[in-house]
Structures are given as C-alpha cells and as structure tokens.
Amino acid sequence: MSQLVAGRTGDWEVVIGLEVHAQVSSKAKLFSGASASFGAAPNENVSLVDAAMPGMLPVINRECVYQAIRTGLGLKAEINLTSVFDRKNYFYADLPQGYQISQFKQPIVGAGVLRIVMADGSTRDIGIERLHLEQDAGKSMHDQHPSKSYIDLNRTGVALMEIVSRPDMRSAAEAAAYVRKLRSILRYLGTCDGNMEEGSLRADVNVSVRRPGAEFGTRTETKNLNSLRFIQQAIDYEVARQIELIEDGGSVDQETRLFDTATGVTRTMRSKEDAHDYRYFPDPDLLPLVVTQDEVDKLAAALPELPDDIRDRLINEYGLSSYDASVITEERETAKYYEAASAGQDRKLVANWMTVELFGALNKSGEGLASCKISPEMLGGLVGLISDGTISGRIAKDVFAEMFESGKDAADIVEEKGLKQVSDSGAIEALIDTVIAANMDKVDEYRGGKDKLFGFFVGQVMKQSGGQANPGMVNQILKAKLDG
C-alpha cells in the first residue's frame, strides 16, 4: 500500500516511530506512598521522598509493576522476569532528585506487537520495541510571574509506562491509528485511563523521510503531543519540512523539537547543552526487580478479553465487517453493550444500528454511551422488530429517534403510533392498483424501457401507505404487475 509523499524531485517514504508515555492507573506513586491522583492543590500529593529531601529512599509499588506486566501481555510482548532500574541524570526544576528513576538497558517488557486497523478495514502489525517503567516529573509554570517559575511536584514520581514502537509506521494516519489502538488496549486492561487532555497519555513522534528502498534518513523527535490531531499535524509538518529541506540541498539535523499547537508548526527546542549525557547507571538504592513466571501467569489468566480477540470473534463468528468490529471494540464498554444488545438478535444488523444510528445520535447530542436512554436490550428489541417484519427499516429510524428522546421501548412506540408494517398482500395489491391507475402514462413509459421509473412507483406506494407497506412485498408485487 503506497503512502508515498510526492516531493518536488520525486517520491518520499515517511518513517515514523512513537514513544508513548502512559500514566499508570494506581493509587500511589511508583516509588513513594503519596497519592497519584490528579487535581490536588499544589504540592499536596508530595511525600518527602518525592521532594528529594536528604536521606530519602525509593520503595517500589507492586501494583505499578503488575500494571506494566498486564500492558506487556496485552501487547503480546516478552515479559522480562528480571529487570533493572537505572538513574537518568540531568538537572531541571521539576526533577527534584537531579535524576529520574527509569529503566535503560534491561526494561521490564521486551518486544511485542500492536495491530492497527485503517479506515478501509485493512490491518497492519506495528512492532513494539519495549515498555519500561519510569517516574513522571513535576510541573513548572512559567506564566505566573515575569521573572520566576513556579514548581508543583504533585506529578513527580507518578508511575509512567514508556512504550516504544519500532519505526514501522508509514503515515500520519497509521500513527493516529496506533495511538488509538494503544489507548484502547490500555483502557481495556485498566492500566491507564488514556486521558490525553489531562496528560495521562502523551506521545513523542520520531519522523524521518527517505527515498523508497533507501536507508533510514535522519530523524527528529517532536515531544509531548497530547491529542491525535496534534500528532498528525506535527507529523505532516515535519514531513513537509524535512522534504523541502533535503530537496533544497540541506540535511536534517537530529534534534528534539516542540510542537506549537497554536500555529501547527514544529520548532527546535533551545538546546540546553551540547548533547544530553544522562550518565545512566543502575540505581544503587534499588535492587534488580524480579518477578516469577507464576506471578506473570496469574496476571495473564486474569486479563479481560482484549479488543483484538473480541474483534476477531465478531468477524469470524458473527460475520461483522472489519470496520464495524473495530469501531465496536474500540472501547470495552461499547463491546459489552454490543454483546448484550445483539444477544439473540441479528448480529450484523445490530452492529449496523450501533455504528450508524446510535453513534450518530450520541455524537450529535454529545452524550456518552453510559448516559444514553437506550439500553442494550432496548436496541436489541428494536432490531428484533425489524427482523421479524413488524416494522420496516425506514420506520425503525423514526422509532429509534423516539426511543432516544423518551427512553420508551420500541414495541410500545410502535403500538402507540400504529406503526406496524403492512404485510398483507391483498392490501398491498390494492395500494399498487391505485397507484398504477393514477399514473398510466408513467406505466407506459416504464414498459417502454424507462426502468428508473420503478423507484417512482415504489415511492408512491410507500407514500400511500404512510410508509408502512412492507417494502419487500411492494417490490415483488409491483414488479409482477408492471412487467405483466
């Protein structure tokens, strides 16, 4: 599948790798007992350990370790039973220790894979390089005072999972699909809430371009993108910038850049020093982390069904389209809703009603599935009425709209409004005869070869019946009558 970008002098291939930082869902921080919750007053969720007071020491939170393992299992990755925490040394106001505890050479999770689904339903496997645990940093505010910065350490020490992909993506769309899928998996597993606005999930994008078939070009890193839109914008901008730069005879510098959300432009971070020399070494306040295969197996056994597995099941067992299956399984709540709604009903039809009508209505009203008045059983009921011929699909749309507003049951609405479909052949014949009689000229034209007029007759019959005539039967009988 070619996703090449046309430059002035020829085509270019885009190479993208992502480093996603996902805040671990846990009550306490990675190495301290302070709360990891969001939204506290400044420096309230800060322990003496987080503030790096003299003599403070780290103690690891087992749940954070398990969350990382669960995520690794969800990414079908190798779990490294022994891993090591290293110190990444640098100076910054939001880094009280003067080093971040991270994992450098021996991360807790190794190689894995993540399957992305594109808009056209095609799938691609994107390689995962590794996942490691590390401490988050605090927050600096630079706009509170003309010459001072204010530091809040609440976020310092919260557990992060850094998930590094292989440079397997070839377009901004693929990158967005990757992040969506990753977010979906994290939310299914409950290991990260994936809230990008709040900063629970952020991405650094590595972008380079090359002539098709050539070696990898020099890549740049654009940091801290916290929405799918910004990720795509930043990639598009970088690609265009790099292509133009190279075609003009220049070369791409390996550097770190920041994305300006207001202007859609990436720019170089002012370099703090020649190069960051982090002087990684194993943290001597910690010992190597060892988990047993038994612990890993127990975690694996307790995992919920993952989106890909549910998706495969929906496609293989229920015959859903790749697209519908992906949309339905993006969130665990949606998948659960679908299972309940489609139980005992036409699985494909229910899927169609969810993805088109239900999601359409929810989007318009800005609601979420959880607050929707239509329960899964109610939706199933509506679809059931279509399947058993009680109402037509056309009428069902009106019934749906009413259900969405009022929360009333489909059967009740049909009953109240007398919307039952007319499937009596005699009644339909009579309607058809009436229409034919009133439009003899058109009948002649149709019989003379204007096939398109068939639709006109169908429309007239449906109008006469107030929309309640069984469309299938109308078609059948009308055809027979017109064709003679």
Binding site: N43, L153, P288
Partner: protein, 112 residues
Amino acid sequence: MISHQLNFFYNSKKHSDMSVDKSTVAKIARLARLNVPEHRLEPVASELNGILDWIAELNEVPTDNVEPLASVTGHALPMREDVVTDGDCVDAVLANVPEGASGFFVVPKVVE
C-alpha cells in the same frame, strides 16, 4: 611521611596522554552544574588526571566473563502495597524552602 610508606602501593606512573583537558573539565563541570573558574580549569584537569591514571590500574584485571556486581545484599527488590501512606504534608515539604509562594516552589524563570 605517609607517601614514603605507601609508595609501594601507589604506583605513580603517569601516562603521557592526558585523558582530561581544560575543555573536558569545563564540560564535566557543566554536566555537574559546578562553576569552575577559568583559572582553575588547568589545575583541576591535572588533579583529575592524576586520579584517573591511578584508577586506570583496574585495566590490569581480567574481567571478561565477570558480571558487574548489582548488589551485595543478596535479596530481591521488596515491593510495597498500592496504598496511599504519604503526602498531604505541604508544610513539611516547604519547611526549608529558600523561596516559596502559595504552596509552590519558586525558582528563577526557565525559558524553554
């Protein structure tokens, strides 16, 4: 006095190549956020080289199949329960702060 007695131990051969020069000293000082004034760069380089020459003695030791020692304790990393047991002590955290404001730490402005 001491140097006589301990010369048997301290092999004061100096390598002809200086491993650290003024610019390296300046770089290391920068990494460590230490101000080494210009006139001290040369003496510090010389001092460091003396030390580095000495510790380079370790190159004599064959260590091809020897794993680095991770820890002397012999026990595995203990893990704690996911319970909030700490924090909520802003006063203690800010008790010794050179400059603070409304619960924040305050520093000279950082330009990104």
